[in-house]
């Protein structure tokens, strides 16, 4: 019994140690790369978005919530609230440089939840702050714009061959930690439904259905 357990532990260790970013084939002369760096989900001006969020957590638990997001891409400011369908505010926070949590009820009071939520929102609605460090193709032919971040994580904006778009985030060790994509072929405009999948230690799957979108002017400084 000890040998299989040791082998499994070794395999897990090896997978963790050996995980690395998928390699990119740089675009050679005459190699046409589509506009992988443009994801129609990113907001281009200050706006308020209201989503119905279907959540699936580990062990089959889940729920449906309402999410309100105020996003200002120019200043990279975000505000967010999570509510029950009955209107009770479960979580409310803003990120204006620093993250300020105004309200958090269980289970949304767990350490790291607020940071994780705002990282997800930033990944979904804001393009990476700097231009891509790399462009190329994955082995399956998908076009990729790659954005390494200062904390060791990496975001790939992916255009699968013949498909729609995907946003993938990799951890510091190169393991895929988040994947976002439209629920169905979305066309060129902003999608009205997005799947967000958290992989690895955070294990959840969200479906965000857009209910309302409002352009904002004169946001508070």
């Amino acid at each position: 019994m000890r040998r299989p357990a040791a082998a499994a532990a070794l395999l897990v260790l090896c997978l963790a140690a050996c995980a690395r970013l998928p390699g990119l084939v740089p675009p050679g002369p005459g190699m046409d790369l589509p506009a992988a760096c443009e994801v129609p989900l990113f907001v281009t001006r200050p706006c308020r978005l209201v989503h119905a969020i279907e959540a699936e957590f580990a062990r089959g638990r889940g729920g449906v919530f309402m999410g309100v997001t105020v996003a200002d891409p120019g200043r990279r400011h975000l505000e967010a609230a999570l509510l029950t369908l009955e209107g009770l505010v479960l979580f409310e926070a803003r990120s204006h440089g620093a993250l300020q949590v105004q309200r958090h009820l269980p289970p949304f009071d767990r350490p790291g939840f607020a940071q994780g939520l705002f990282q997800d929102l930033e990944m979904l609605f804001f393009p990476p702050p700097e231009g891509p460090a790399l462009r190329g193709r994955l082995a399956d032919g998908s076009a990729v714009c790659r954005y390494p971040a200062g904390d060791g994580t990496t975001v790939d904006l992916v255009r699968p061959a013949g498909g729609d778009w995907e946003i993938r985030r990799y951890g510091a060790r190169g393991r895929l930690t988040r994947r976002a994509r439209p629920c169905r072929p979305a066309g060129p405009g902003p999608p009205d439904c997005v799947h967000l999948e958290a992989l690895g230690t955070a294990d959840y799957r969200l479906t965000l259905r857009l209910l309302e979108s409002e352009a904002l002017t004169g946001l508070e400084p």
Partner: protein
């Protein structure tokens, strides 16, 4: 009988379109009497049934079944205009309840014989919801049925105050609960046994207001309404 006031007063009053003082007093008194009569005519039902907890419980206790549409407005610090939801509810004494949201996300809560089930729209289907929020939902159902029976003072977690004009204010006793809900305000309708609005205040900027419309009282409602999602 001659008017002792100088003619100049009448002339000036006519210019300014002001009635002479004597007539003004008389018309004010008549106006007051009319308003008083109107108030007396309008108030008896509300004054009768909302005068005390006992009279409220007596009036609400006489209600066997009620159905109404509702509009829910969620006011949030980060919203310029409220989030709105609409739905319908049905109650049959002593504890059968159906609470249904129709927009923007359909959900149906069914409570009968002490069992509470909720179904929520996921994609194109209504699916059973065993989410993290079900414990809170059961508490809400318990409170709703208490209110519909006129037992606003029955929840030991809240202090209930009955104000003038059928206003009920529930204030949490424990600080842990007050951190979640600052207070609940209910406005009773003129019609005995009927609630007009419920306002759940979370803090100064965040509150939810439910307004009930087209309230229909009856002797009973079909069993299926409380047991089947689409009766």
């Amino acid at each position: 009988m001659t008017d002792p006031r100088p003619r100049a007063t009448h002339a000036a009053a006519a210019k300014l379109r002001i009635r002479p003082p004597g007539r003004r007093r008389a018309s004010r008194a008549a106006g007051l009497a009319a308003v008083l009569l109107l108030l007396l005519a309008a108030r008896p039902a509300r004054a009768d049934w909302t005068a005390s907890w006992d009279s409220i419980q007596a009036a609400a206790g006489a209600v066997q079944a009620v159905e109404a549409d509702f509009a829910q407005e969620k006011h949030l610090r980060i919203l310029s205009r409220p989030l709105t939801a609409t739905g319908r509810f049905a109650y049959r004494a002593p504890d059968a309840l159906r609470w249904e949201y129709r927009t923007p996300v359909r959900s149906v809560l069914l409570a009968a014989d002490g069992t509470v089930r909720r179904f929520v729209q996921r994609g194109d289907a209504l699916v059973a919801d065993d989410s993290l929020g079900m414990a809170a939902v059961q508490v809400v159902v318990q409170d709703l049925t208490r209110w519909l029976k006129g037992r606003f003072d029955a929840n030991p977690d809240f202090t209930a105050e009955l104000g003038a004009g059928g206003r009920v204010r529930l204030t949490p006793r424990r600080p842990e609960l007050a951190a979640v809900i600052a207070r609940i305000e209910l406005q009773l309708a003129a019609r005995p046994g009927v609630i007009e609005t419920v306002t759940i205040v979370e803090d100064d900027a965040n509150y939810t207001r439910l307004t009930f419309r087209d309230v229909r009282l009856s002797d009973t409602l079909p069993e299926a309404l409380f047991r089947v999602v689409d009766p």
